[in-house]
Structures are given as structure tokens and as C-alpha cells.
Amino acid sequence: MDKLPIKMKAVDLNAWFSGKQALSKINMDVYSNKVTAVIGPSGCGKSTFVRNLNRLHETIPGATVEGAVFLDEENIFKPRYDLVDLRRRVGMVFQKPTPFPTMSIYENAAAGIKLAGRVPRPVVDQAVETALKQAALWNEVKDCLDKPGIGLSGGQQQRLCIARTLAVRPEVILLDEPCSALDPISTGKIEELIHELKKEYAIVIVTHNMQQAARVADFTGFFLLGELVEFDVTGKIFTAPRDKRTEDYVTGRFG
């Protein structure tokens, strides 16, 4: 654990919603080319944590934050840190599949690229194709790229959202319960995808499904009431947790 390259590092991270504390003193690392799972009962601050890794938390009125998060050893909370750059390097996929309803499949996949300014059409075409292939969606949609993105099934929509994130070529991917709205088959596809993606990216996945964490994650952090109770190699969290509360949670005694 010590020798692994650290991609992101939260140091004494605290976060509030209108004065109500949602995260307390979180210290946690995210490693390159590894999948890190964030587990815990609902309302424990999992989403709040990952939403601080791309500084989306503070876009909510009344939301505040203290502490530091390092991306490649640079504190993303330092004054005048470039938020656009941060969010392009740290991409995010949300719980509910949210393709933009007014856009086609192609436009959805290209939405992030086009924000950066004028990009020649062949370059966009190439990026869209690569991203859709990475997201294991290309074969299903290559003949209907002009159809609306919301016409796809839920699982396809979520993979489209993953493609949209990948197309920006991030370094870290945050997935906030990406499968909770999906059927088991789509979930399986996305888990496979995560296995593929970690070859190139650092991945953080929030899940309330412990089997899922056990299947996909190299490391797992257990959150409870806004605190990081325990962080370790996934196997240890599930078989030999050090903290009684972790044990209770992973054995299903609460949560």
C-alpha cells in the first residue's frame, strides 16, 4: 500500500451542508490504476466525499469545505486552482443515468469535448468512437448515433454517460453508485468495464452493494456518519476488519 503511486489524497477533509457537518476529518488515498470502493450506509457521506474530489460539492448553495485534497501532489483547494482543468482530469459518473435529453447519442458522447472549444469534426468523431468503444457501447449504437440518447435502455444510458466522461480523457474516474438504477446484466457489464478501465485510470466507486465492492475494488473505505472508519485492501475489509463497526456492517448486522 505504501509503495503504490498515489493519484489523489484527502487530508483532514471536512464538509458541511449549510452548517451541518457531512464529512469529518477524512484522510484517504486513491491509487493509480486501482479501483477504490467507498461503502457505508446511506447518508454516511459517500457522495459528499467523492463530490469533493472534483469540487462539485461546493456548487451546492450553502455547502462548505475545509482541509485538502491533492491531485498529483497539488492541492485542488488552493486559491485560483483551475476548476475546469480539475474537472476534466477528474471525471464523474452519477447515480442516475443522465444523458442530456436534447442531444443525440453522438452529441452526448461529444458534449465534454466540445466544451473545450472548436475541435475539428474528424477529431471529435475519433474521440467519440474511442470513448464509446471503451464504454463497451459502440457495437450497440454505431448505426444510430443520431438518435436521442434518452431513447437507450437504462444500462446503455449509463454506459453512454461513462463514454461522455471518458471522452474528455480524464485521469481519475469517480462513479457514484453507477449501477444502483440498473438491472443485474447491465450491472455486470459495467463491472467488467471497470476492470478494463483501471488499466488506464484511477477509479473511485461509491456503492452500497458490498458484493459489488468485493468484486471490483482493490481497496475499500468504510464510511459511517461522515467519518472514514476503516480503509484497507478490499479482502481485509471483508474478511478481517479491524474495527467492530466495519465488521458489523460487512456482516450485515446493520446498514
Binding site: 462539485l56 475546469v84 435529453p101 466522461t165
Partner: protein, 282 residues
């Protein structure tokens, strides 16, 4: 058992009666306007100038004047209204100042239209020296319409789920890119509907144009924005109160044209609304 069935029937009867009482006067008014107005409608009536001291001829100058006023109102009210709404909804901090502005906008939409008319008279006609003109009238109507457009636009913007904005931010979009690329395209139907309804209300107003643009009788078309113009609502007022012995046919014909115009605008607005509501999926 029987009791509850009876109550159900009574409730149904009362609701139906209430609906009929509400609809009947509107239907009656429309019927009277149609019956009396339709015989007057003709190509000549629509496209020729009034004659015989407005007792005959057509209403072309008033029709054109009202058209110019709608266009002028739209030119001023739509851009400012939409931009202000975007600012208030997407940019402004929630603080005392924005709440005061919001309260002011709500109250502005309740101000009687004659007050807007007097305001337009003192600001545009006199102080800014535009004189009674299409410019002054359009500006007055625009100010009256702004709160409607701002409120409708804000509602349409608020209806776009926050999740779309978050996705856009998460892709590295700035606030303006988010508004342009994601929020506005999803809000356009609501904005259009509200805007058209606001304009159609402006088209039928008399008080705001009374001192700012409306001409009693002007048998030629305006040639510049500084010209006075006839307008349908004021023309109706003139025909029914200021000129003796105008035939009922001419009066109702004019009313029918104005009501028809507003009706068409409203139908377009509700068509847009229902068309996009069917397509909406979030």
C-alpha cells in the same frame, strides 16, 4: 354504502355545475363576438383604411399598428427578460438583495396597466422626448411584459433538473457553457410559451398605449418608430365610445380580429407546451 355513492354523485354534480358556471360566460361572450363580428370580416375590412369617420372602411392601420407594437415589445422585452431571468436563476447569490428583486418583480406584475401607461408617458414620451410614438408605446408595453417573461423564464429554468447542471460542471463546463449548452435547450419550450402569453396580453392592452402611442384616427401607415400609430384595442374603445352611430357589425368585427389574434397566439403557446411536454422525459 348508498350514502357514499350518493355523496359521490353530489360531488360530481357540484363540480360539473361549477365548471359550467365558469365556462358559460366565456362561451357566451365568444359566441356573441362571433355571431356579430363574422359578417364584418372581409378582405376589404382587414386591408383598407377606415372611412366615413370610421363608420365604414377597414381597420388596416390599427392591425398594422398592433403588429408593430407586438414586434417592438418583443424586441425589447424578450432579450432583457430572458437575460435577467438567467442572471437571477443561474448566477445571483440567494441573499436579501435578490429576494428584494424577486419581490419587486412579483409586485410589478400586479401593477395596474394604467400605471404603466402613465409611467411610459412621463419617462418615454416626455422625459426622453420620444413623443407619442411606436417606440414609446413598445417600451411601455415591454416594461409591463417584462415581469411575465422573467417569471415564466425562471420557472422554465428551475424546471431543468439540477443533475443536468452538475453533469455539465463535472465535464469541465463553465457556468455560461452550462447555461447555453444544457439549461437553455431544455428550458426553451417553457420560455417560448411564457413569452408568447406575455406578448399576447400586451397586444390586447389599451391603457399602456393610450398616452404613449395610440392615435385616434390616422389614415396612413406609420413610417418610422417615432410615428404615432393606431392600435386595435384603442380603436375598439374609440369605435364604441367616441364615435356616434358606428354599426354593430364594424364594432364586433374589430373585436373579433383582436380576440382572434390573441387566440392564435395563445393556441400557439399551448401547442408548444403540449408538444414538448410529450417529448419531455426527465
Amino acid at each position: 354504502m348508498i350514502d357514499s355513492k350518493l355523496k359521490e354523485k353530489a360531488a360530481f354534480a357540484i363540480l360539473l355545475a361549477a365548471t359550467i358556471i365558469v365556462i358559460a360566460p366565456v362561451a357566451l361572450i365568444l359566441a356573441i363576438i362571433l355571431i356579430n363580428g363574422l359578417p364584418a370580416l372581409s378582405f376589404e375590412f382587414l386591408f383598407s383604411i377606415p372611412r366615413d369617420g370610421m363608420r365604414g372602411g377597414g381597420i388596416f392601420p390599427a392591425l398594422v399598428g398592433t403588429f408593430y407594437l407586438i414586434v417592438g415589445t418583443a424586441l425589447f422585452a424578450i432579450p432583457f427578460g430572458i437575460l435577467a431571468a438567467i442572471y437571477l436563476n443561474e448566477y445571483a447569490q440567494r441573499n436579501r438583495l435578490t429576494r428584494a428583486i424577486e419581490l419587486a418583480i412579483i409586485n410589478l406584475s400586479g401593477v395596474p396597466s394604467i400605471v404603466y401607461g402613465l409611467f411610459g408617458l412621463s419617462l418615454f414620451v416626455e422625459f426622453l422626448g420620444f413623443g407619442a410614438s411606436i417606440l414609446a408605446g413598445s417600451l411601455t408595453l415591454a416594461i409591463m411584459t417584462l415581469p411575465v417573461i422573467i417569471t415564466a423564464t425562471r420557472e422554465a429554468l428551475s424546471a431543468v433538473p439540477r443533475s443536468f447542471r452538475e453533469v455539465s460542471f463535472s465535464l469541465g463546463a463553465s457556468r455560461w457553457q452550462t447555461v447555453r449548452g444544457v439549461v437553455l435547450p431544455n428550458a426553451i419550450p417553457g420560455i417560448l410559451t411564457g413569452t408568447i402569453l406575455g406578448l399576447s396580453r400586451a397586444a390586447g392592452e389599451t391603457a399602456p398605449i393610450l398616452f404613449t402611442v395610440a392615435a385616434f384616427y390616422l389614415p396612413k401607415l406609420p413610417t418610422s418608430v417615432y410615428d404615432q400609430a393606431m392600435a386595435l384595442p384603442y380603436h375598439i374603445y374609440v369605435l364604441s365610445t367616441q364615435v356616434p352611430n358606428v354599426s354593430v357589425k364594424v364594432q364586433y368585427g374589430t373585436v373579433l380580429v383582436l380576440v382572434g389574434m390573441i387566440f392564435i397566439l395563445n393556441i400557439v403557446a399551448s401547442y408548444i407546451r403540449s408538444y414538448f411536454r410529450k417529448k419531455k422525459t426527465w
